[in-house]
Symmetry: C2
Subunit: 157 residues, 2 copies
DNA sequence: CAGTCATGACAACCAAGGTGTCATGTCGGG
DNA sequence: CCCGACATGACACCTTGGTTGTCATGACTG
């Protein structure tokens, strides 16, 4: 309660953020497994799901954009997009901004598929207890966002 | 600012937590790459680093305990522990609680190695800007913790 | 118009991490 | 006290998320 509301000094900040990072690993793996489980009955791979989710949230994007957004190599994203295209889940439309790099957009089938998946996952997340408040979630987003920014320089490609 | 301080209704909670999850993926991958980069000069693999970190923080543990703590299969942890043992970074000591399942403990060499790595990573985290407060980090930890709990049921093994 | 940069496409390749299995030990209950 | 259930160690195999490298082509900028 002392300086609870004032920015942490760097040293302390480093220590605390380590705790955050320690949670991110297990969380990532559990979530991945949980997502995977929800997928097996359908026919989406994890990568394809990620692509569709991204498009669902942000609208049509180019492959490199998606790579950057998810901190994944554009080549990998490309493979997932190709896979998704083979399944008729996405299609490419001409990009007004760049003639060569086309935008990727979900097809109706793709939109339906991802909608279904997201609905199922949403239902799972609803169960989260602990009475989390808006303020807490917002704070969490801010912390993770800062952490992400701090690691920004890691990228090159 | 309306019900900023009261628990979120489930639907809204689900939506917001999705945002959190969306950050976890990129963060995990970037952090992993960043950690990897700091490791290449040394001789630790990512997995060995994780094992040493766990032991450093929690004291001696058994292999299955580490697996559960990190949401990783005990077999994989075992492999990492073996690898670490070959490099003389950890040693097993008899477990008072269970005769068969020995506790794993860092050797002096192991403790030195992980100390060095953690110090370097700590320095990186110190750079995080944004003036994060204690309250924010605490909230973040709570949210991630709840999320982790919500996914607890995912485990079987 | 030239040089640089971004994109698509394709090919290896790596390693994190899982699954399956078996033998051996441990432990709790009848 | 023994028996069955469960946990552990050990080992083999495999899936797949994800990278790196390369090359050609098309786009943008000075």
């Amino acid at each position: 309660m002392t300086d609870h509301e004032t920015p942490l000094p760097p040293d302390e900040l480093g220590r605390r953020l380590t705790e955050v990072y320690d949670l991110v690993g297990p969380l990532y793996r559990r979530a991945q497994r949980s997502v995977e489980r929800g997928l097996t009955d359908g026919e989406l791979s994890l990568g394809v799901r990620a692509v569709l989710t991204l498009l669902h949230r942000n609208g049509p994007m180019t492959v490199p954009q998606m790579g950057r957004a998810q901190a994944i190599s554009r080549q990998f994203v490309q493979r997932m997009v190709n896979e998704a295209a083979e399944q008729g889940l996405v299609e490419s439309i001409s990009n007004p901004a760049h003639r060569r790099s086309s935008l990727i957009r979900p097809t109706e089938k793709g939109a339906a598929a991802i909608g279904e998946v997201l609905r199922r996952e949403h239902a799972l997340l609803r169960e989260t207890g602990g009475g989390l408040t808006d303020a807490e979630v917002t704070a969490c987003l801010r912390v993770l966002g800062e952490l992400l920014k701090a690691l920004d320089h890691v990228d090159d490609d």
